[in-house]
């Protein structure tokens, strides 16, 4: 049977949200292949996660509890996913396009002799199954076909909704029969304990550019972000100037974000930056240069001095949100 296998993600004993849109992608794909959606949960103590994911309109959940899977390693997860895919007759293996999905699925693809598509944003039948995916940081979209019998896909989860909850599917233990590898070791995972949401996950992002002139001036960006419960970002120019840390960088060589609301403050709008944020639903640009290219993509533009506008805007929003 042409089944679809979804690799679930979890953290601190809870299903990660990115798994849900991946299930939707799998349901759409299974409708085209005529197969079932199966889910694989790897970890140690995954019973609750398996029970949770079973509610989302899937046919079966396979969970493996083993000290080998206690901490994520591509070297153990990849062979386990390969084994599960072969056991259930999966012709499509899908995972979220998260850092874990991106890390492990290419290893799986090579072992299954499968072609792989990264960051799928759509699946459809057009004389055979085709996928759509972005290139050049979203400046180009392509339609691709995978010619191998087994296809491995990471899913851009912002492009799919979460599935509806339904009756719980059967949950079954899975034994990968693996020993710990002798050539790779997990050392630590340092979770960022921030009050702010993750950049790639946030509904609101407030980003600052070189026009802010110093790292200290980013404080007003943080104040606006905190007022809206959003994340803080920066342009590459601001990062290169040392005003903001690297992991705040939004752009082609940084992070790609698609929040509901994006504020570009004192950012001119270089192609490199636009590539990372133009998928945002609503874009607000605040810049003193009325000719800045950012206004060409902004839904709402405010021309003026960010040092006056942002604090005043933050104060007014405090009374509203």
């Amino acid at each position: 049977m042409a089944n679809v296998l979804v690799v679930a993600e979890h953290l601190d004993g809870k299903l990660r949200k990115v798994t849900l849109p991946t299930i939707t992608f799998a349901q759409q794909t299974a409708a085209l292949t005529g197969g079932e959606v199966h889910v694989l949960v790897l970890g140690n103590g995954t019973d609750a996660v398996a029970a949770e994911v079973a509610k989302y309109g899937v046919s079966k959940v396979h969970f493996a509890n083993s000290p080998v899977f206690e901490n994520y390693l591509a070297e153990t997860y990849a062979p386990a996913i390969v084994k599960a895919a072969q056991a259930i007759g999966a012709t499509v293996v899908a995972a979220p396009s998260s850092t874990t999905g991106k890390d492990v699925l290419p290893r799986v693809a090579a072992k299954l002799d499968a072609g792989m598509v990264s960051d799928a944003i759509a699946v459809f039948d057009d004389g055979g199954i085709k996928f759509r995916r972005p290139l050049w940081a979203g400046n180009v979209l392509t339609t691709v076909e995978v010619v191998t019998p087994v296809k491995v896909i990471t899913v851009r989860t912002t492009d799919f909704e979460a599935p509806a909850e339904g009756d719980a599917a059967a949950v079954e233990a899975f034994d990968a029969g693996l020993a710990a590898p002798d050539n790779a070791e997990f050392v630590s995972f340092d979770q960022v304990k921030s009050e702010r949401p993750e950049l790639t996950d946030a509904a609101v992002v407030v980003a600052g550019g070189r026009g802010l002139k110093s790292g200290e001036n980013f404080q007003m960006i943080m104040n606006l972000a905190d007022t809206l419960g959003g994340a803080v970002g920066a342009s590459r120019a601001a990062v290169d100037s040392g005003y903001a840390p690297n992991d705040w960088q939004i752009g082609q060589t940084g992070k790609v974000v698609a929040p509901d609301l994006y504020f570009a403050v004192a950012i001119s709008g270089a192609i490199q930056h636009l590539a990372g944020m133009k998928g945002s639903k609503t874009i607000v640009a605040i810049n003193k240069d009325a000719d800045a290219p950012i206004f060409q993509v902004a839904d709402f533009g405010l021309v003026g001095d960010a040092f006056e506008i942002v604090p005043a805007l933050t104060e007014k929003l405090k009374g509203i949100v």
């Binding site: 090579a110 792989m116 979209l141 392509t142 790779a184 050392v187 995972f189 979770q191 839904d299």
Partner: protein, 248 residues
């Protein structure tokens, strides 16, 4: 220690990409090319490893003859010799990884450091597929790297924080932002690079069939955003966000 690093020739990410009228690809006439920016981090890290541990850096590119320019750039930065596996075909990540696996088998490096992804095809697969074919461990999205006693300790950029992983050499490391600050090629470096050895091979010299597993059928431009409204003041902006965009 012998270090292998890879470079891909890509379109300048600061230029706007144009799609051909027949949607078969992107316009390449008049386009400027440069080294994939993530590969710059990989090359820089290879040089840092050589500075710390001694040895040799081999820089490899799989691509058209014009990619010798990026190989020379890496040599001008500090790589010792180059290998171009020449092909004009557009390869998928799997084909590139199969070619690189043969180069690795020939060269037997202690470590392979490469960019986490190319900024044109954005696939983020080649390093991991290469590791899988070689049965090597991998550490992707590296922001820090230390090598001692035959193991690499790698700080990795992952969702929700950072992770640290140890991998036994030989291993594949893929470079993320923050790993280092790539150096510029100096003028003496550029002069020296011209005399460094550069071997050109074909995929068939390596015995690799470069047939793709994934074919790109169609290139399209995403829907263009249109310029919106310039608002007068903060109150109007808040009104629009509340009542028009309904995001507040």
């Amino acid at each position: 220690m012998k270090i292998l690093t890879t470079v891909k020739r890509v379109t300048d990410p600061d230029m706007k990409v144009k799609i051909k009228p027949d949607q078969s690809g992107v316009v390449t006439d008049g386009v400027e090319y440069k080294m994939n920016s993530f590969d710059e981090y990989g090359v820089e890290e290879a040089i840092k490893l050589k500075e710390a541990h001694g040895g040799e850096i081999v820089v490899v590119s799989v691509g058209p003859s014009s990619a010798t320019k990026e190989i020379r750039t890496a040599m001008a930065m500090g790589a010792d010799r180059g290998i171009l596996v020449e092909t004009d075909a557009e390869l998928d990540s799997d084909a590139v990884a199969r070619v690189l696996a043969e180069v690795v088998r020939r060269e037997s490096p202690d470590i392979i450091v490469m960019g986490k992804q190319a900024v044109d095809s954005d696939r983020n697969q080649t390093g991991q597929i290469l590791a899988s074919y070689l049965d090597y461990p991998q550490a992707t999205f590296a922001y820090s790297l230390e090598v001692a006693d035959g193991w690499a300790t790698v700080g990795r950029e992952v969702d929700g924080g950072t992770a640290t992983k140890r991998v036994k050499l030989p291993a594949i490391i893929t470079a993320d932002l923050r790993l280092n600050e790539p150096r510029y090629a100096s003028l003496p470096g550029i002069m020296k690079a011209k005399r460094k050895p550069l071997e050109t091979l074909s995929p068939s010299d390596l015995g690799v069939d470069i047939a793709n597993k994934v074919n790109v059928l169609l290139f399209e431009a995403p829907e263009e955003r249109e310029a919106g409204e310039i608002v007068e003041d903060i109150d109007t902006l808040i009104d629009r966000l509340k009542n028009k965009a309904k995001v507040l």
